[in-house]
């Protein structure tokens, strides 16, 4: 019945990966710090893809060997899948390692690999002062509006399922442990949230996560995340909203 299917098809898609921001070029120190982080949550980091963010280092003109960084990441068990804010030499190294290059354009630039690998972007120097200003708390006016319509889901999201919404995501049913819900906009769960919820996956830091019953494995807004271990026990099983303030996730009970 499916004889007429084409061999392949290209579809635009978004890929979510944590980024690793380096502040020190000392390889040994990086390796040690990584190992300590991994020991905290080995399951979470196992085989995780990773974007290596070199903006901070390059701002301070600390030149680091990207090949060496890649080697230790792979040794530890990460899959480096991108470089961001690398200098010319580092981008060249990334290219020879077949790692896509993401150049920084503005605060909240999307982590869409592939699409960001464009000629005009590569020329832009990552050590320009705009990046510094973008680090400061963001004024509401600077926030890109969430343009796409909201996605409404009324059935349960089961373990192993992944939901991605280009705008807001509204879920009326439970989200099971082991499920993953992602939205470029806000996330509302009018039920129990046990899985992972990632809002603002394109870097919108103004978005929020709302849920009736917080039991999440992981929550993240614009890449800043907390695992269930780090969640305040007092908020467990409570109706909460979660938002970002100065790069810190704030969890507040909805009274």
């Amino acid at each position: 019945m499916l004889n007429t299917l084409p061999v392949l098809e290209f579809k635009s898609s978004t890929f979510f990966a944590p980024s690793l921001i380096l502040f020190n070029k000392d390889i040994a120190a990086i390796e040690q710090a990584l190992q300590e982080k991994i020991n905290l949550a080995p399951e979470f980091f196992r085989d995780s893809p990773l974007i290596v963010d070199l903006r901070e280092l390059n701002k301070q003109n600390q030149d680091v060997d990207f090949v060496q960084i890649t080697e230790i990441l792979r040794k530890i068990g990460f899959f480096p899948v991108g470089i961001r804010g690398g200098n010319e030499q580092q981008n060249k190294q990334a290219h020879s390692l077949s790692i896509p290059i993401d150049t920084v354009r503005e605060q909240g630039s999307p982590i869409i690999i592939g699409e960001t690998h464009k000629q005009e972007n590569i020329k832009q120097s990552p050590s320009q002062p705009e990046v510094t200003t973008a680090k400061e708390p963001i004024r509401p006016a600077a926030i890109p509006p969430v343009s796409a319509a909201a996605t409404l889901i009324t059935h349960p999201i089961r373990s192993g399922q992944r939901i991605y919404a280009a705008g807001d995501l509204i879920i009326m049913s439970q989200v099971s442990a082991g499920a993953e819900i992602m939205a470029e906009g806000n996330i509302h769960v009018y039920n129990t949230l046990r899985g992972r919820a990632l809002a603002g996956v394109h870097g919108n830091t103004a978005v929020r996560i709302f849920c009736f019953d917080l039991q999440a494995e992981l929550i993240s807004i614009a890449g800043d995340y907390k695992t269930s271990e780090d969640l305040n026990k007092q908020m467990y099983k409570k109706p909460v909203q979660i938002y970002l303030q100065d790069h810190a996730l704030i969890i507040k009970e909805i009274a």
């Binding site: 059935h155 373990s159 082991g178 499920a179």
Partner: protein, 270 residues
């Protein structure tokens, strides 16, 4: 058209084959012509539970490959002449199953049978996926422990996204919960999850609770589905399950166990 039921769980050893045999027998006993298919190619067990292992000549894979007709491979049960078994092949593996082949066999069986019960293998690989692909109803067999519940939850996700009904955007598979190996003493002492704990995560239509019972093992060893053991609690529980599935309203039993008399009197769980 037959109604196709998949008995599935994700996790192994929770009682899928026992359940498949019991409900297939129960449906047949109620006068519905029923076929039960063993999808666990390479680890054939259903024939043992139904006590027909010595009458297996052709199997499911032979039929898929066109080496035997369905009627040659179907084994009529010796206890009930409305129940037929299509055994798995023991010498092959799951790769011998194809979606097209399984679809053809089910289509042909649908003409003759009222119910087709698909006994899924454990896991979420090809055998399990094909067992559920054509289903109309799913019996999700779960033990009251956390890993089984997690696996059932995963299976429910697959049921709602990878079935033929999902692909065709038809009405989704109707999902039912069957809580098996339930030991009310251990639930009370906190060693096992309670029905409420399980339902908090799965929130499904409960078809029945099958209490942990020695009669299940002895029935399996004897090759007689436990539903035929009317004295055993497990047998009675499966009889209830079949009745509920066919639309009868029956109160749930075996939640609090035998010792639950006082609890029931003084308002335990519903």
């Amino acid at each position: 058209m037959a109604r196709i039921i998949v008995v599935t769980s994700g996790k192994g050893g929770v009682g899928k084959t026992t359940t498949s045999a019991a409900i297939a027998m129960g449906l047949a006993k109620k006068g519905h012509k029923t076929a039960v298919i063993d999808f666990d190619v390479g680890l054939r067990n259903l024939d043992l539970i139904l006590g027909c292992e010595r009458r297996v000549v052709y199997d499911f894979i032979n039929v898929i490959n066109g080496e035997a007709s369905i009627n040659q491979a179907l084994i009529r049960d010796k206890n009930c002449n409305l129940l037929y078994i299509l055994p798995a092949s023991q010498t092959r593996d799951k790769d011998a199953l194809t979606q097209e082949g399984v679809g053809k066999v089910l289509e042909e069986l649908s003409k003759e049978f009222a119910y087709i019960v698909c006994d899924s293998p454990a896991g979420i690989e090809k055998g399990a996926n094909l067992a559920l692909y054509f289903a109309d109803d799913a019996f999700v067999v779960t033990n009251p422990e956390i890993s089984s519940v997690r696996d059932s939850d995963r299976m429910l996700g697959i049921l709602s996204s990878k079935s033929r009904r999902a692909e065709r955007n038809e009405e989704p598979i109707k999902e039912y919960l069957l809580l098996t190996r339930y030991d009310s003493d251990r639930v009370r002492s906190g060693e096992m999850l309670s029905l409420d704990d399980v339902q908090e995560i799965l929130s499904l239509d409960l078809l029945g609770i099958i209490p942990e019972s020695k009669s299940v093992l002895s029935a399996s060893n004897a090759g007689i589905p436990v539903i035929l053991d009317e004295k055993s609690e497990a047998g009675q529980a499966y009889t209830d399950v079949v009745a509920r599935y066919l639309g009868e309203k029956r109160p749930h039993r075996f939640i609090d166990g035998k010792q639950g008399f006082l609890r029931r009197l003084f308002g335990g769980r519903k």
